[in-house]
């Protein structure tokens, strides 16, 4: 007991603050969410949350968020690599730009991306000639989510990359490994935990994103309707219980995905260690 007190001074106090902090800002809102849904019977909750249109909105939300997070995992890593490993003029500015999606109100981002990618926009018009539509399709949703969630991946990976000494790579090279092998066997195992964290953060953020997506999605039922919109729709109707039912299912599903990602991470870590 005394030993642990010495290692973590004020353990009782900090632990108390931690639990009440979490309780107040995380647990309490969750409980009130659950209580709101309690207006409905379990059967009603299930029937609301498994309505065909709601199910299709889950598919859109989960599919687009996963894809956006995956895209960011690849290109975000590349971006982080360039920012950490190379020195070039304007590096600091690019580094700052990465955070722009955090600072910009997402609705503004959504409107800007929509007018760019609509079939009369700068990017949308040439694409439209090739028969590719971005705005008002699922592709548009992915574009908005990639924008919004980019900082999560980059900022998760950057500090790890900074710690990762190029010596290891050189060691690999002297042992005769090629670039790809070094990346796969040396860099990636080190990056994996941070990459997974960034990926899951991006994915979770994408699931809940409303402000930007709502402008670019077109919101057509069964095609581009996202789950948060189904929640807002019910709130607009003053149907708090039903809105919460949809939200609860979403929460459970994202918990499941996060759990899976975490398992993956643990297994990967064990694999790398062994």
């Amino acid at each position: 007991m005394t030993a642990s007190r010495k290692t973590i001074p004020g353990f009782g106090l900090t632990m108390g603050i931690t639990t009440s902090y979490l309780g107040f800002f995380v647990l309490l809102p969750m409980i009130s969410l659950a209580l709101r849904a309690a207006d409905l019977s379990l059967g009603e909750i299930v029937s609301v949350a498994t309505d065909a249109r709601v199910l299709s909105s889950y598919r859109v939300s989960f599919g687009c968020s996963l894809l956006a997070a995956a895209i960011n995992a690849v290109f975000g890593t590349m971006l982080a690599w360039v920012l950490v490993r190379y020195r070039f003029p304007g590096r600091r500015m690019i580094d700052g730009l990465v955070e722009l999606p955090f600072a910009l109100p997402t609705a503004v981002a959504g409107i800007a991306l929509t007018s760019l990618t609509a079939d009369k926009g700068w990017i949308g018009a040439p694409l439209a000639r090739l028969g590719i539509a971005v705005a008002y399709t699922r592709a548009g949703i992915v574009v908005a989510l990639v924008f919004v969630t980019l900082p999560f991946v980059v900022r998760s990976i950057q500090p790890v990359l900074e710690e990762l000494s190029p010596d290891y790579e050189e060691a690999g090279r002297t042992l005769g490994a090629g670039g790809f092998t070094i990346f796969r066997r040396v860099v990636l195992p080190e990056l994996r935990p941070a990459l997974l964290t960034g990926f899951s953060l991006a994915f979770a953020r994408g699931l809940g994103e409303y402000g930007s997506v709502i402008f670019i999605a077109g919101n057509r039922p069964f095609r581009t309707e996202i789950a948060p919109l189904m929640i807002v729709t019910r709130l607009e109707e003053f149907m708090y219980g039903q809105a919460t039912a949809v939200a609860l299912f979403m929460l459970l599903a994202s918990f499941a995905v996060m759990f899976l990602v975490n398992r993956l991470q643990i297994r990967a870590a064990a694999f790398a260690g062994g």
Partner: protein, 335 residues
């Protein structure tokens, strides 16, 4: 001695003046409104402040809040202490009434169902009206791209849907199945279903999507004014009378002691000046004399159905039949 008394009295008087002045200067009123009234109330608040000061009642600052109508109603219910609400639909005010913040029978307190100004649903089309859209029936034609907000998330858009329904009902001889088939066709033509009116306007005006935007008349005129020469307004022969009501939030005005001010604020909307401000912001003034001054841009021959028409039977009935979960609107979009 008497000089000292006089001094004290003079000082007290001065203090009183300052205090009274401060009380007067501190008058503040919160008006929780919906999105497209931003410009209207900017102008009206100035006019009302002048009017109020002119009565010798001191300065008043009006704090405005805008957003989706139902969302705004919800914020008031959840503790946004509005003195007055000026929303898109009576049912949103009724929701606040049901929460116990507004007295029963609020809609009878002010003239014309507590609606100082009204509007209607018109079509905004591209210059020259290339698709020849004249009436509601044209919206269901193949190849016509329609832009409207989602009636489920936008209070304003419910009028769009109901106007289409009313047209179909008259056209097809009160046959509900055919009405439903018609609105389904219209919504099959909807290219982008934005969550709010401003989003739809943006989609149609800025991003160039679709051939026709279903819009409130005042919004359509704003788009016309913003981008002259790009669009035209088509007023269909029949439409719906959109009645955005205003109400005092009893609980909050009593708590804050602003009842007199808030009452005057709403009543002045009915004054000649208030009515002209509404008219110049493209809302139809309720005063039958003043609306004539604006006949240049209001088609006064337009046949307007109201929400209290037996066809709809008031907001509550229309709401539960058309927009509730599993209602007609959900059926249109089910598989």
């Amino acid at each position: 001695m008497s000089r000292r008394v006089a001094m004290v009295l003079a000082l007290l008087f001065l203090f009183g003046q300052v205090a009274a002045g401060r009380v007067l200067a501190d008058q503040e009123l919160t008006n929780v409104s919906y999105d497209p009234t931003r410009e209207l109330y900017e102008a009206y608040n100035e006019a009302f402040a002048r009017h109020w000061a002119g009565l010798g009642k001191g300065d008043v600052t009006v704090v405005q809040s805008h957003g989706g109508s139902a969302k705004q109603a919800r914020s008031v219910i959840e503790g946004n202490e509005a003195d007055v609400v000026t929303l898109a639909r009576a049912i949103d005010v009724t929701a606040i009434e049901e929460a116990g913040l507004i007295g029963k029978g609020w809609q009878g307190r002010l003239a014309r169902n507590s609606c100082p100004y009204t509007s209607t649903i018109v079509f905004l089309v591209r210059k020259g009206n290339p698709k020849g859209i004249r009436d509601w029936g044209d919206l269901a034609r193949e190849g016509v791209g329609v832009i409207t907000p989602n009636p489920k998330t936008s209070g304003g858009a419910r009028w769009n849907y109901l106007a289409a329904w009313a047209w179909a009902d008259a056209q097809y001889g009160h046959d509900d199945a055919r009405n439903e088939e018609f609105v389904k066709k219209v919504f099959d033509n909807v290219l982008v279903l934005d969550s709010g009116a401003r989003g739809s306007t943006n989609t149609f005006v800025q991003n160039g999507q679709g051939d026709v935007l279903l819009a409130w008349e005042n919004e359509a005129y704003l788009s016309l004014a913003e981008r002259p020469g790009e669009f035209e307004i088509v007023t269909p022969p029949t439409s719906i009378l959109a009645e955005p009501p205003v109400a005092l939030v009893d609980s909050y005005v009593d708590k804050k002691g602003t009842r007199e001010l808030a009452t005057a604020y709403l009543e002045y909307l009915y004054s000649d000046e208030g009515q002209r401000i509404a008219g110049s912001h493209y809302y139809r003034p309720g005063n039958p004399e003043i609306i004539k001054e604006f006949s240049g841009y209001f088609d006064l021959s337009l046949k307007l159905v109201t929400i209290d028409d037996p066809l709809f039977g008031g907001w509550e009935a229309a709401q539960s039949r058309h927009f509730s979960d599993g209602g007609v609107f959900d059926r249109i979009y089910s598989r």
